[in-house]
């Protein structure tokens, strides 16, 4: 038997180049590493794409807008609100003004609240004479001046979320964190710990929770099934944010917590994308954090992602998911803007998580 024949039955034989580290990572230029294996669906010109998730999802939203495809933003400011002020208020950062949704439990509860299936008692925080939304505490600088405006805005917000659930063709969700603060009595998940920039911390009412993989997975499954029940044709693209934790509440090093958190999110995303046919996992996390990049895609704080990294992710995204024929159609529709469904505005990146360390 020759030496070559010893590998004749090896199951790795004949696999594509992307299955081999040397070919597809070690000997490939950083910007050319392309870990996406082709999407199970494509995004066309008539599709409405909505976004939610942590900070990194904002990059996806901006790219969608620039690409000429149908970025779906049903929650827009009223025309009476000055555009400069609307920009400060987070309109267009995501498809609805829910700000960052860091955990899958928060995503699920957001949907449930929008449909009246979960009505927490703690729905507003008073800060002096201002009204703060605990679920998006920084969405309105200084909060709302009146209960009437708070209620009206929430009603509009929920209606927009319902449109996202029911009308989106593609929903892009970026998993961000496993650590969260929850209310002890109702299990409400807050995007930011009460007392960190908004609200007041009370250890009798709030507690720290670090979600386990099963919880993250089950909440995500429940959220996506919730969408599918109301929108059977919807497709979902899951990503994991490559942005490390800014702080951990666990009694351990923030690096250890970051790796735990990202590992859990990555596994949960994998399990959900395997379980639901409607769902793809998109490896933006791998593109930014992989060895090929050698941290070159991070700024000096090893946390903020450089524009080159975002561009790499978005290039892979476009190549694998955008139907080029559809782009032209979408471009025309976006230019017309007649139905008001395709937003022409995306705000500057905002990352509420920064409030933790202020």
């Amino acid at each position: 038997m020759t030496k070559q024949d010893k590998h004749a039955t090896c199951p790795y034989r004949g696999l594509p180049e992307t299955s081999y580290w040397r070919n597809s990572v070690a000997e490939t230029r950083m910007a050319k590493v392309q870990p996406v294996q082709g999407g199970s669906f494509t995004i066309g010109g008539e599709d409405l794409i909505s976004t939610a998730g942590s900070c990194f999802a904002q990059h996806i939203a901006q790219h969608l807008l620039r690409s000429g495809f149908g970025y779906f933003v049903p929650e827009e400011p009223h025309w009476m609100v000055n555009p400069h002020i609307a920009q400060e208020m987070g309109y267009g950062v995501f498809s609805a003004r829910y700000a960052n949704i860091y955990t899958t439990r928060q995503l699920l509860q957001t949907f449930q609240r929008a449909y009246g299936e979960f009505e927490p008692k703690e729905r507003v925080w008073k800060d002096g004479d201002r009204y703060i939304d605990p679920f998006r505490p920084f969405i309105q600088p200084d909060g709302f001046a009146t209960q009437a405006a708070f209620d009206s805005d929430q009603e509009h917000h929920f209606a927009s979320i319902r449109r996202i659930v029911e009308e989106s063709s593609v929903f892009v969700f970026t998993l961000g964190l496993t650590e969260a603060w929850v209310s002890k009595d109702e299990g409400i998940v807050f995007p930011v710990c009460p007392g960190c920039g908004a609200g007041t911390f009370d250890e009798d009412r709030y507690e720290f929770k670090n979600f386990r993989m099963e919880e993250v997975r089950d909440d995500l499954l429940a959220a996506l099934k919730f969408m599918r029940a109301r929108n059977p044709d919807i497709k979902v693209l899951l990503t994991v944010s490559p942005v490390p934790l800014i702080a951990t509440a666990e009694p351990r090093h923030v690096l250890t917590s970051t790796i735990y958190s990202k590992s859990v999110l990555r596994v949960a995303a994998e399990e959900v994308s395997q379980a639901l046919e409607m769902c793809d996992y998109f490896p933006s996390y791998e593109i930014i954090t992989g060895q090929h990049a050698g941290n070159a895609y991070y700024e000096d704080d090893f946390r903020s992602v450089k524009p080159e990294g975002v561009a790499h992710v978005m290039r892979c995204f476009s190549e694998n998911y955008f139907d080029k024929a559809g782009k032209r159609k979408a471009g025309r529709r976006a230019a017309g803007k007649a139905d008001g469904r395709v937003s022409a505005k995306v705000n500057d990146l905002l990352c509420e998580e920064e409030k933790l360390v202020e």
Binding site: H78, W79, M80, N82, I85, D129, A149, S152, D153
Partner: protein, 263 residues
């Protein structure tokens, strides 16, 4: 001699049209001139950017000021009729696709909501007005480099009360409405309380801007305003603009202001 130079957008027209008659009663010690008027009358606004990237007064105002200054001892008054258009038009008509209400909070915590539809906090709208008027404020400040005796910002003219009259005045322009795909039946005037609320906010923002720019803020005389704060004399050319009769009243008021300020 007092030289009064007036400039602004379409709300300057009523002053310009009244000026020929007013000059007879103004006397010889004070002269009024409309330097620029109409939507395109003052391209670039109160100030423009020069080749060095500096904000300088609009050349139209600059040249008019220099010409008025030719004779030693003349006192120059610069009158801005800008920044009042929004006050006279915003929220006048109900947008059935996006109706709105304005919520206010009194010091005792009582909330008031005027209008119906999506509720917007009053302070949010006010902040928007101030943001929009920021460049105007800078323009007013820049005018001071021309060394006028005083700069005066006219307050927004009060708005009309009667919705039927608004619709009637608008119906003068059937072709223009049709060109915009609007039929007379579609026109709904917002409730007077809501329109007044919006005007109040615009007025307040304009006043703040004038104060911060340290220029005079000239409010229409009491006899021109009704008890409800709406336009008190019959002087509407169309739903937003005033007749020369209104312009004449404003010019008289300006003259009085100048005489008083001049001591």
């Amino acid at each position: 001699m007092d030289k009064v130079l007036i400039f602004g957008t379409s709300h300057t027209n009523c002053l310009a049209r009244a000026l020929p008659d007013f000059k007879k009663e103004a006397g010889d010690d004070i002269s009024f001139e409309v330097v620029a008027r109409g939507p395109m009358g003052l391209p670039g606004g109160l100030c423009v950017t020069n080749h060095a990237g500096e904000k300088i007064p609009n050349p139209l105002i600059d040249y008019a000021t220099q010409a008025a200054n030719m004779r030693r001892g003349n006192r120059i008054w610069l009158i801005s009729v800008l920044a009042m258009n929004n006050a006279n038009t915003t929220g006048m008509f109900r947008d059935s696709a996006a109706p709105f209400a304005v919520a206010s909070r009194a010091e005792d915590g009582t909330e008031t909501v005027v209008g119906s539809g999506r509720v917007i906090d009053e302070d949010l709208i006010k902040r928007g007005h101030l943001a929009r008027l920021e460049s105007h404020k800078e323009g007013l400040k820049t005018l001071k480099s021309l060394k006028p005796h005083r700069v005066v910002q006219l307050a927004p003219y009060p708005i009309m009360r009667d919705p039927d009259e608004i619709v009637e005045l608008l119906s003068q322009f059937p072709e223009r409405l049709a060109a915009r795909g609007v039929t007379a039946d579609e026109i709904q005037v917002n409730p007077v309380e809501l329109r007044k609320k919006i005007w109040d906010m615009e007025f307040e923002a304009c006043k703040i801007v004038a104060e911060e720019a340290e220029v005079d803020f000239l409010v229409s005389d009491n006899h021109m305003i009704g008890e409800d704060g709406m336009r008190g004399i019959d002087s509407s050319l169309d739903p937003a603009h005033c007749t020369p009769e209104w312009g004449l009243e404003i010019l008289r008021q300006l003259k009085g202001h100048i005489e008083q300020a001049a001591g």
